[in-house]
């Protein structure tokens, strides 16, 4: 019960209004308009250099915006110094004070605000992050995961309106990261404070956040619930950065009954019009690899009502849980297919002629002018472009 008492003040929405930051000629954050509802777990997701950390630092007051305003509820905090804002930060690699013990690290904010009796709140907070026994240790004596929890406790104890987390799990190994994701989500649910979480790890963002904003080149590409933006990406960047996608550029040949019909490479694809992000006639057809079914051509079965393509299997890797295929189409594009291992009969082999198909409701349509490689993993991209000459040869 003590835990739910952590929040006493009224939590307020965070508003960013036309927030812009330029470093010389480089625009890091470009006229960002954003409202983050009170009490939500919000993730700013994007590759390094997309402006997400700069945005966070402006909210914290560590960076001055070039233009725009930051409001917490009705209060404009744009001109306030960091120590005057009802905002606390969990820094990347924690920035715990090495000369103070854990207790004093956590008590730091309370003491600076002139609160005399810090013993009880600090002990409660250490209890919340399950580090009560470590109070008198120095940060250097703690493991990475423990330091991470101290950093969260040190910020949370101040009952900020907004808690900012800058890549908080980046320094942890994979197993610990998973654990801390669950832990952070639990803490957020318990304290009810708005968490704004900056990360480049899409899985982390989707696991923890209620709302994910995908950021690229200083702008928000798309914002919504994790399911929403995963299932219905509106830009090629989001389609590639958040999970993987197969993208086929084509032309609209008809729009009827809420369905858009697109022709590409002599094949016809149907997409629910609500899932097409453009009104133009040039549309990129997209589908996630796990939505696609692959069957040997001679035993394809009934494919009516599905979007269908033919190709040859050029790569098959069995991972136990699923098999990942690469299927080359007649025009040389390689489609990715993740196939769950439901039945051994479904398995197709390298070099097989196959039919790939998917339900139209799993298609999405993007603006035809999109850069189809936007948001792709750079290493993966280099690998693929490295492959292409070999294929030609």
């Amino acid at each position: 019960m003590a835990r739910t008492q952590v929040v006493t003040g009224q939590v307020e929405d965070l508003h960013l209004v036309g927030l812009t930051k330029r470093f010389g000629t480089m625009t890091a954050v470009d006229a960002l308009d954003l409202t983050i509802p009170a009490g939500s777990f919000f993730a700013l997701l994007g590759p390094s250099g997309c402006g997400k950390t700069t945005t966070l630092r402006m909210v914290a007051g560590l960076e001055d915006p070039t233009e725009g305003a930051i409001l917490i509820g009705e209060q404009d905090v744009t001109q306030l110094r960091p120590y005057q804002r009802p905002v606390n930060t969990v820094f990347q690699s924690y920035a715990l004070f090495p000369h103070l013990d854990i207790f004093e690290n956590v008590a730091f904010g309370l003491r600076r605000r002139g609160i005399k009796d810090v013993k009880k709140p600090v002990e409660d907070m250490l209890e919340l992050v399950e580090l009560g026994a470590m109070a008198r240790r120095k940060p250097g004596q703690l493991s990475g995961g423990q330091q991470q929890r101290v950093a969260v406790a040190r910020a949370l104890i101040n009952q900020p309106d907004v808690l900012l987390l800058d890549e908080p799990l980046g320094a942890l190994d994979l197993k610990l990261r998973r654990q801390m994701q669950i832990e952070l989500k639990r803490i957020q649910t318990e304290v009810g404070i708005t968490f704004v979480h900056v990360t480049h790890d899409q899985e982390e963002a989707m696991t923890m956040a209620d709302t994910v904003a995908v950021m690229n080149n200083g702008r928000i590409e798309q914002m919504g619930s994790p399911v929403d933006i995963y299932e219905n990406p509106r830009t090629a960047f989001v389609a590639n950065f958040l999970g993987q996608s197969n993208l086929l550029p084509g032309q609209v040949v008809g729009r009827e009954d809420g369905v858009t019909v697109i022709s590409a490479h002599n094949a016809t694809f149907r997409i629910p019009t609500a899932r097409v992000a453009t009104d133009g006639d040039s549309v990129v057809v997209g589908v996630r690899p796990e939505k696609v079914t692959v069957r040997a051509k001679d035993r394809a079965g009934d494919l009516s009502g599905r979007n269908v393509l033919e190709g040859v299997v050029t790569d098959a890797s069995f991972t136990g849980l699923s098999t990942q295929y690469l299927v080359r189409t007649a025009w040389g594009q390689e489609l990715q297919v993740f196939s769950q291992n439901l039945s051994a009969d479904d398995i197709v082999r390298l070099g097989d002629d196959v039919v790939v198909s998917w339900d139209p409701i799993h298609s999405f349509g993007l603006d035809g002018a999109s850069d189809l490689h936007a948001g792709m993993d750079k290493e993966l991209l280099a690998l693929q472009s490295g492959d292409e000459p070999a294929q030609v040869g």
Partner: protein
Amino acid sequence: MPAVVPSAATAHGSDEATVRRSRRSTPYLLLAPGLGWLAVFFVVPLFASLATSLQVPLVEGDPDQGYTQGFAVQNYVNAITEYWPQFLKSFLYAGIATLLALCIAYPLAYFIAFHAGKWRNIMLILVVAPFFCSFLIRTYAWKTILADQSPVTQFLNALHLLPDDRILNTPLAVITGIAYNFLPFMTLPLYAALERIDFRLIEAGGDLYGSAWTTFRKVTFPLSLPGVVAGTLLTFIPAVGDFINAQLLGSVKDKMIGNVIDSQFRIVRDYPMASALSFLLMAATLTIVFLYIRRAGTDDLV
């Protein structure tokens, strides 16, 4: 196959033992030149000096006749009773000069560490630049700077800030001279300590409701303490024994213990007294440094 493996392993094992033996001796080989140097030029003179400090004159009352080895603890008693004011003055001047150097060097080191940007290396070179010129020449230059007719003195006089209407030949000149001469010894360790501080810690201080001043007091300064301790020791220890500044910049009344030892050796030729004074200076300095380090508690710092 199984027969080959063990024999290969034993051959390998004996090789390893040889390697291990030679590895164990490596540290001592590395230490040898330093230890040898210290033995010849530090330990031997130290004991020679200790022996000298206990010598007695061959002819009572006539030091010109030379000295013979004795066990005259009285030399130490004489040294203290006769020269305690100079001892006191040395520690006082050196202490004030160290504080003054700290007050000048800290902001300088802070600026170089956090705000100098691309000028950082140039500024560091400028800090060290005085070393390209001899200590003695620099102190002579300081004599000109502080002379009665110099702009500095005249300016301060115009403001009626100088009690004696002059700087040269006053304790003030000695103290400022010491502070100036040892400034790089203060600045460099401070810079090294400040430069190591993760700037995010200072940001975190601000984020956790510390104003700029509070964050400095509670975060930056404590984290720079190793540099403060190193800098003050590097300044204080040589400053206590210094005699150039008092000689060139001070009056006869401002003699420090270094001047006394110097004149006892070179002019009076009372070697036992000079040695006893040296030993007392060493003991007093060690005591002060020891207490200071315990007080500063640098062991607690990471």
